[in-house]
């Protein structure tokens, strides 16, 4: 990769910022750069990262998915109830994935062939699904047996399974992005949809698929999340969708589509995780969390806008 190409990487600014932040925290906060703390940060980041990797594709294709919070809750509900009746981890996981994919499909069909913009479809889905979970499980408090929590608690070769899951998803999305026609088309559709039509790319299929992918990721994330917390409430993962979008945008994927990378959502998620961790370690009250998150999103999108202005001046 040439130097110019490295400098043009969308996640570069946030990666540099992340490294500086980690360096600064290591000096100022002794408890930060310790194995247990870093592992804790990573484990917290896993759930957001998994979904962010898929929503990254949605945003790259010039759409958005804001239904992920409720969808994770629904998938967790499905996972939990199958786990209680059937037991184990794999059958519940399949159930959660199927649920996620189905909802993603509905989101996708409405947003493409239904000609409703994805922000509206997924907003409707956000409310509808949360309502459904509250109706179905409003009073239910579900406790998961340990054998159904391997995605959250299990370890393999001394590494938490949740982190392995994230690495696998990351690698898979990397291959999809770089080495499949679908992956390349996502960038094209988001970069210039009129041109994509002229070239004969299947716009609707591509956009639909990204939303299905996002649904699938919610199914997987639900299995990890439920494994970690062990207990399901109907209000689980409320506001989760904003953390996901924050991770994608902070990582450097452009909110206007067509520009970004597979690494961006992970960098963004880790950045969010590290910042929130730093607040906790420095005993900043938890009520600041939302405020900080909001400011970060605003900063990231302003930066994106500024960068677009600067680079487009040449044209």
């Amino acid at each position: 990769m040439s130097r110019a190409a490295i400098l043009a990487r969308p996640e570069l600014p946030s990666l540099v910022f992340l490294i500086l932040l980690v360096a600064a925290l290591s000096v100022t906060t002794p408890s930060f750069f310790t194995i247990p703390n870093l592992q804790a940060v990573l484990e917290q980041v896993v759930v957001v990262s998994i979904v962010a990797l898929a929503v990254n594709q949605v945003i790259l294709s010039e759409q958005i998915d804001i239904s992920t919070g409720s969808l994770v809750a629904v998938c967790a509900f499905v996972y939990g109830n199958i786990a209680l009746t059937v037991g184990g981890s794999w059958v519940p996981l399949l159930g959660a994935l199927a649920t996620g994919a189905f909802v993603g499909l509905v989101n996708g069909v409405l947003s493409t062939y239904g000609r409703v913009s994805s922000i509206i479809t997924t907003m409707g889905m956000l409310f509808a699904l949360r309502g459904a979970v509250l109706l179905a499980a409003g009073a239910q408090v579900l406790n998961l047996p340990p054998e159904s929590r391997i995605f959250g608690l299990g370890e393999a070769f001394g590494v938490p399974i949740s982190i392995i899951v994230l690495v696998v998803v990351f690698a898979l999305m990397g291959v999809v992005s770089r080495h499949t026609v679908f992956g390349r088309n996502v960038y094209a559709v988001g970069g210039n949809d009129r041109a994509a039509r002229t070239v004969g790319l299947p716009l609707n299929q591509v956009r639909l698929m990204t939303l299905v992918l996002s649904g699938l990721s919610c199914g997987l994330a639900a299995a990890v999340l439920l494994g970690q917390i062990g207990q399901l409430q109907a209000t689980a993962a409320t506001g989760f969708e904003l953390k996901v979008i924050a991770a994608v945008v902070l990582g450097g994927t452009s909110i206007t589509g067509g520009r970004g990378s597979n690494l961006a959502p992970v960098v963004g998620a880790v950045l969010v995780g590290v910042i929130l961790n730093a607040l906790t370690l420095n005993r900043v009250p938890g009520i600041f969390e939302l405020f900080v998150l909001g400011v970060l999103i605003l900063a990231a999108v302003s930066f994106d806008g500024l960068r677009t202005r600067l680079t487009d001046r040449r044209r």
Binding site: A8, V175, Y187, G191, R197, T198, V199, G200
Partner: protein
């Protein structure tokens, strides 16, 4: 259909591609009908006609974007039915649209391979190196040596045009449709493009060439087809036509009326620019314009012409230098400063910079002068409509009611609406940036008439144009820009294509290649 054999055509065999009795209507209106065309290998066919003559509809049917209502497209003598551009591309027909359809954030190589089979590595992944190599080869075949891994947005419009052609070649296109490929190119870049077209011809590729620039047809095409009102009016070898007979066929009137230029008295200096500089975009630009005078600004795209105009108009103000209107130095820091000083500007990109497409004709025209028709912030619709219909009459905007959205108008009429809007404030200085780009012959002559009329009203006029004939026909003086500096100044008796072209290329005439 017994078409006479052409120089490069293959006699006896079915043509590579053909259109038979093609017709398409929208609502009750025929956009084109009874179109008969044949395309032979290695032949360039120019399609001419005013805006709305049905050229675009015809080629869109050929490219699968529209499905014809009558007739059919034939490939090697067999009727085919394209449901989408995808099918047409698969049959070897590619289209290079009028406005660049590239993916700005993706590399040239990536742009070439979109929607197309890519080389793979043994494990199934894409072979990026092979893609880059192939992309470099295709670009090299077009005579361009560029970094194919760099995003397309870092290149010029001319290179972008070549990337589009490379994309078609990379798909093994046998028929390439070029819709006004030179609209955004300068003379030099156009010459390069022609060189590319000649190479394509030699390789047996057929080309459909749509243009409004009549000279080009004779330079590059083997056969010419003229369309009017959705029908084929004339067709034949290029040698059978002259500019005059082409214009006749297109609009049904003689050529002499294309350019309007009356001799008129030229007054005092109204507008002056001294040492205008903006970073490394342009520097030390000096010129003056007298009342009733038309100053032509020639030069290549990227020579800083438009940027200079936009600096004068306050869109991106200059760092240094002086702008003088009526002998008073004015400080232009914003567009409203420029307007207040009596400077008006017709932007080059009418769709993105000039018009608000969903707005009505009337609303567009009155946009900049709405305050004149308003009291306490409420717009008096009656006054506004009166102004709009007066402007529509003066600038001969036809084809739609004043209450219909501008996006429904043809390019020529859109341009006239924009001119009406720009002139609404009755400026002293009028800067027109490519006023006839993408406009048909009929509307062109009206734009020239408007410019002539403005000069007669003692305005100081600056016309930026890439079209040599145009700038030479309507200007009293010409300045030429090259790499941000003025590289030549010509009075009317010094005008010559060679001298101006050499100045635009930054050369003195005698050293010109």
């Amino acid at each position: 259909m017994a078409e006479p054999m052409t120089a490069s055509g293959v006699s006896g065999e079915a043509p590579a591609f053909a259109v038979r009795g093609l017709g398409k209507h929208f609502g009750g209106i025929h956009a084109c009908r009874e179109i008969e065309l044949e395309f032979r290998a290695g032949e360039v066919l120019a399609i001419l006609g005013e805006n709305g003559a049905g050229k675009s509809t015809t080629v869109k049917c050929l490219h699968g974007l529209y499905q014809p209502d009558e007739g059919q497209v034939e490939v090697s003598g067999r009727a085919v039915h394209f449901r989408s551009p995808r099918d047409a591309e698969a049959a070897g027909i590619s289209m290079i649209p009028q406005e660049l359809d590239l993916f700005p954030d993706l590399s040239i190589a990536e742009n070439l391979f979109l929607g197309q089979k890519r080389p793979r590595r043994p494990w199934g992944g894409f072979d990026q190196r092979a893609m880059n190599r192939q992309a470099r080869e295709v670009m090299a075949a077009l005579g361009v040596d560029v970094d194919v891994t760099a995003p397309v947005k870092t290149f010029s419009a001319a290179t972008g045009r070549l990337v589009e052609i490379a994309r078609a070649l990379n798909r093994d296109a046998r028929l390439i449709i070029m819709d006004e490929p030179t609209a955004a190119l300068t003379e030099k870049e156009t010459e390069n493009l022609f060189e590319v077209i000649r190479r394509l011809k030699a390789a047996g590729v057929s080309i459909i060439y749509i243009t409004h620039r009549l000279n080009e047809c004779f330079t590059i095409s083997d056969r010419i087809v003229v369309m009017r009102d959705g029908r084929l009016i004339r067709s034949g070898p290029a040698e059978e036509f002259t500019i005059g007979s082409l214009v006749d066929a297109m609009v049904g009137r003689p050529l002499e009326t294309l350019y309007s230029r009356h001799s008129r008295p030229i007054g005092d200096v109204v507008f002056e620019v001294r040492g205008l500089t903006l970073g490394n975009v342009f520097s030390n630009v000096d010129f003056e314009v007298r009342s009733g005078e038309v100053l032509g600004v020639s030069g290549l795209i990227g020579s800083g012409r438009s940027e200079m105009a936009q600096a004068i108009y306050g869109i991106a103000p200059a760092d240094r230098g002086e702008i003088i209107v009526d002998r008073k130095s004015v400080d232009v820091r914003s567009v409203s400063d420029a307007l207040a000083s009596g400077i008006a500007y017709l932007p080059e990109e009418r769709r993105s910079q000039g018009l608000i497409l969903p707005f009505t004709i009337a609303a567009n025209m009155s946009l900049s002068v709405l305050a004149l028709f308003s009291r306490l912030g409420f717009v008096n619709r009656k006054l506004e409509d009166g102004f709009a219909s007066e402007s529509a009459r003066r600038f001969t905007v036809t084809g739609a009611a004043l209450s219909s959205p501008v996006e429904n108008l043809s390019g020529g009429n859109q341009q006239k609406v924009l001119i009406a809007k720009v002139l609404a404030l009755d400026p002293k200085v009028v800067i027109l940036d490519e006023p006839t780009r993408g406009v048909d012959v009929g509307a062109k002559s009206e734009v020239y008439r408007i410019i002539d009329d403005l000069a007669a009203r003692n305005k100081a006029i600056v016309v930026i144009s890439s079209e040599m004939n145009e700038v030479m026909s309507i200007s009293d003086r010409i300045i030429v820009m090259h790499e941000g500096r003025i590289s030549g100044r010509f009075t009317r008796d010094e005008f010559s294509q060679q001298a101006i072209g050499a100045a635009a290329a930054g050369q003195r005439l005698h050293h010109a290649a």
